[in-house]
Amino acid sequence: MSIVTVQLGQCGNQIGFEVFDALLSDSHSSQGLCSMRENEAYQASCKERFFSEEENGVPIARAVLVDMEPKVINQTLSKAAQSGQWKYGQHACFCQKQGSGNNWAYGYSVHGPRHEESIMNIIRKEVEKCDSFSGFFIIMSMAGGTGSGLGAFVTQNLEDQYSNSLKMNQIIWPYGTGEVIVQNYNSILTLSHLYRSSDALLLHENDAIHKICAKLMNIKQISFSDINQVLAHQLGSVFQPTYSAESSFHYRRNPLGDLMEHLVPHPEFKMLSVRNIPHMSENSLAYTTFTWAGLLKHLRQMLISNAKMEEGIDRHVRPPLSGLPPRSKMSLNKDLHFNTSIANLVILRGKDVQSADVEGFKDPALYTSWLKPVNAFNVWKTQRAFSKYEKSAVLVSNSQFLVKPLDMIVGKAWNMFASKAYIHQYTKFGIEEEDFLDSFTSLEQVVASYCNL
C-alpha cells in the first residue's frame, strides 16, 4: 500500500528530499546481505510505498510539496532531478510568493482558507494515483509559520476529507534557543491542534540530532543538511519494508496501519519517538562489529533512561522490581529517572536477525500498569540490511520521553503569554487569547496524562 507524503514549509521540504533520497539509495544498495530474490522483493515493496513509475523508468516520489515562498521548493525540485535516480512530480507543488512570516496565525487563518482548494486538489490527484492507499505522512516543523500553521490547517482538512485514512505527522522540535523567537507560541498552537486531528505525532528534536552529529558522527561544522540526513536515516529505518510475522515470506502491506495499531492504543497518548542504533560515520563503521545482544542491551537502556543516543547513557537507571507497590506519580521537578512506556516497537534489520533476543523489552516493569507487555511490545525482524549497517535496530516508542521538553515549552510560552508579548501579531490574524488558553489547557492535559503513567 502506498503512502502520500506532504512536505510543508522550508523544514518539511528540505527533510522530505533527504527522506526520499535515503529510501531510494538504501533500496538500490548492494549490501543487503540477502538473496537477490529477497532484495528484489524489498525494492519492489519500497517502490510501491513511496514512488510511482514513469514511462522512462525514473521513479517519481509520491509527494506533495507546499510552501508559501518559492526558493526552497525550486531548490528541492532541482536537487531531486539532479540526482538522476528519482524526481518529484511536475505538478505536485503548490507555491506562493510571500511566506508566512513565522506567524502561526497567518499560516492557519490566512493561507489555509485562501489556498485550501488548490492544495487539497493536488493532494487528491496524488492519492488517486495510488492503487491502494495506506495514509498520509506529513512533514513539518513546529517553530515557523507555514509548516506549523498551514500544516495544522491541512491536517485538519485531511481529517475531514479523508476520515478513513491514517495520518502521521512528522514534526521537528526546534532547538531550545536560537531559531525563532515566537517558536514556543507556534509550537503549542501546533501541538494542541494536531492532537485533535492527527492519528500519531512522530517527534524529532533538533537538539538531539545535533548531538548525534557532533558526538557520534564526528561532524565538525554541522549543517542543516547533515541534520536532515541523520533524520532521514532514522525515518528510513522505520519505514522501509519489514516482514509481517515471524516466518512469513512477504513484506507488510500496511505500514502506517501497523505502526498505529501497535503504538497508539489510546487517543490521549499520541507522541512517538524514534531511537536508532548504531549511528556512526562511515570511517568508523569499517572498523566496528556488532552483536545483537550488545545492540539490544544499549537500546533497552536508552529506552529506560530516556537517552537520545548511545553515548552518555545513564546506566544506573533501573526499572522498579515487580512486586513492589506502584510508583508514585512522576514529579517533573526532579530529574526523570525512569521512562515508562505505553507501547514499544523494535524493528531489527540485518544479519542473523532471527537470533536476536528481545526478551528484555517484555519486562512488565517497563510499561504502565494498565497494559500487558504482550499487547504493548512488538518486534519486526527483517533479514535485509539497511543502508550500510550490517545490523541495525530501531525503537519506535510511545513513552514519557517527551514530557520534559513539552513541559518546558509550555512553561516558556506561558511566561511569554503572561506578559502578552507578541500577542498582537496573532490577534491581527484572528487567533485570540482564548485560542491560546485552549491550547495551554489541552497541552497541560497531555503532560498530566503522560506523567500519570
Partner: protein, 400 residues
C-alpha cells in the same frame, strides 16, 4: 522638494535604474521645517504620490514591504516622509513599512532638528512597523576606524578594496567622491544584508515579515539597533574558525553599531542574527551559547534569538553578519533628543516658523512630546525588571 539631489542621481551612473516617471520634485525645498514638509507639501502632493505608489505596486506580483529612507532632522525627509507613512498605511494596510531613519547627532548644523525629529517620531511610533535608527556620528566613527586600518601600513595587513563596507563597486571608480558617500554606503550595506535572505537561497531563510514578527513584541517598541560586521576583509584568504567567532563578537561591540548606544549594559527584548556566507548552524549555535551569558534578556524572552542563514556572502567577503537588536539602549538617545527639544521649546525659539503653517498648532508639539515621553516610560518599565530574578508563574491546573 528641491531638484538638486534628484537631478544629480539622474545624471549619475545609476540614471537608468530609476524610472523618471516615478520622481516628484519641487523647487524651494522645505526649509528644514517639518510642518512645511508634512502639512504643505503633504496636501499638495498627496494625490500625485498616491498615484505613483499605486503604479509601482501594480508591477509587483506580491508586494511585501515598503522601505522608507529618510532623515529625521530636516524638513522634507522628516515631514513629507512621515506623511507618506500614513498614506501607505491607509492605502496598503497589509504591507509592512520599514523605516531607516537618520537621527541627528549632537553637533549637527540644523538648529531646528530636535523639533523636526520629535514631530516625526510621533508619526513613526504610530504608523511604522519597524524603525532602524542610525546616527551620523556612528557612521563617521566606523569610517575613521576603517581609514585607520587602511592607512596604518602594518605589515601583512593589506585590505581588499572591494570589501570595504564604505566602498561602492569597483566599476564606478571614476565617480567623484562626495563627503557622505562612504557613510551612506554603510547604510546601503545594512539594507542589502537585511534583504539577502529574501533574495538568495539559504538553509534557514528569513523574510522581511519575519523580522517584524519576531523582533516587535509590542507595537510601540519597534526600534532596532543594527550592527554590521565585518567592516573589511584582509587579503588573507584562509579564515580559520577563530575569525568566524570574532565576527560574532564584533557584532556585539560598540564599534560596529550604526547607532550610539550600549546594548550590552541594557536589556534585550529580542535579537536577530542574519548570517551570510559559508556559516553553518553549529557555528551559529556555538556563538550564541558563547555570547549569551554576557547579555541580559528580558525575563519572558530569555531565549529571544532569531537566526537566519543565507548561503551567498556579500561581494568581497566570505561571510558577514547583521545583528538587529530590540534593546532598551535606545532610551538615552530618545531622552537626549527630548532634552534638546525642551531647551528650544521652553524659549519658544523658532516656533513661529512652524505655527505659521496652516494646520499646525502648539498641541502638535505637546502631543509629540507626550508620545515620546510615553515611549521612554515603557522602556523605563522594562529596564526596571532588569536585575530581578526570573520567576516561574503558576501554571494552569487541570482536573484529572
Amino acid at each position: 522638494m528641491e531638484e538638486g539631489v534628484v537631478n544629480e542621481i539622474l545624471q549619475g551612473p545609476l540614471r537608468d535604474v530609476f524610472d523618471t516617471k516615478q520622481l516628484i520634485t519641487d523647487i524651494s525645498g522645505s526649509g528644514n521645517n517639518w510642518a512645511v514638509g508634512h502639512k504643505v507639501f503633504g496636501s499638495l502632493y498627496q494625490d500625485q504620490i498616491l498615484e505613483k505608489f499605486r503604479k509601482s505596486a501594480e508591477h509587483c506580483d506580491c508586494l511585501q514591504c515598503f522601505f522608507i529612507i529618510h532623515s529625521m532632522g530636516g524638513g522634507t525627509g522628516s515631514g513629507l516622509g512621515t506623511f507618506l507613512l500614513k498614506v501607505l498605511e491607509d492605502e496598503f494596510p497589509e504591507v509592512y513599512r520599514f523605516v531607516t531613519s537618520i537621527y541627528p547627532s549632537g553637533e549637527d548644523d540644523v538648529i531646528t532638528s530636535p523639533y523636526n525629529s520629535i514631530l516625526a517620531m510621533k508619526e513613526l511610533n504610530e504608523h511604522a512597523d519597524c524603525v532602524l535608527p542610525i546616527d551620523n556620528q556612528s557612521l563617521f566613527d566606523i569610517i575613521s576606524k576603517i581609514d585607520l586600518m587602511v592607512n596604518s601600513g602594518k605589515l601583512g595587513t593589506t585590505v581588499k578594496p572591494k570589501s570595504l563596507v564604505t566602498s561602492s563597486s569597483g566599476a564606478l571608480k571614476k565617480r567623484h567622491k562626495k563627503p557622505f558617500d562612504a557613510m551612506n554606503n554603510i547604510v546601503a550595506n545594512l539594507l542589502l544584508n537585511l534583504t539577502s535572505s529574501a533574495r538568495f537561497e539559504g538553509s534557514l531563510n528569513m523574510d522581511l515579515n519575519e523580522i517584524s514578527m519576531n523582533l516587535v513584541p509590542f507595537p510601540q517598541l519597534h526600534h532596532l539597533v543594527s550592527s554590521l560586521t565585518p567592516l573589511y576583509t584582509l587579503t588573507d584568504v584562509n579564515i580559520p574558525p577563530r575569525r568566524l567567532d570574532q565576527m560574532f563578537s564584533d557584532a556585539f561591540s560598540k564599534d560596529h553599531q550604526l547607532l550610539r548606544a550600549d546594548p550590552k549594559h541594557s536589556l534585550y527584548l529580542a535579537c536577530a542574527l542574519m548570517v551570510r556566507g559559508n556559516v553553518q548552524i553549529s557555528d551559529l549555535r556555538r556563538n550564541i551559547e558563547r555570547l549569551k551569558p554576557s547579555l541580559q534578556f528580558v525575563s519572558w524572552n530569555q531565549e529571544g534569538w532569531k537566526t537566519s542563514l543565507c548561503s551567498v556572502p556579500p561581494v568581497g567577503h566570505s561571510h558577514s553578519l547583521l545583528a538587529l537588536a530590540n534593546n532598551t539602549c535606545v532610551k538615552p538617545t530618545f531622552m537626549e533628543l527630548k532634552e534638546r527639544f525642551m531647551r528650544l521649546y521652553k524659549k519658544k525659539a523658532h516656533l513661529h516658523h512652524y505655527l505659521q503653517v496652516e494646520g499646525m498648532e502648539e498641541s502638535c508639539f505637546t502631543e509629540a512630546v507626550s508620545s515620546l515621553s510615553a515611549l521612554i516610560q515603557e522602556y523605563d518599565q522594562l529596564d526596571a525588571t532588569k536585575n530581578m530574578p526570573v520567576q516561574d508563574l503558576p501554571r494552569l491546573s487541570i482536573a484529572m
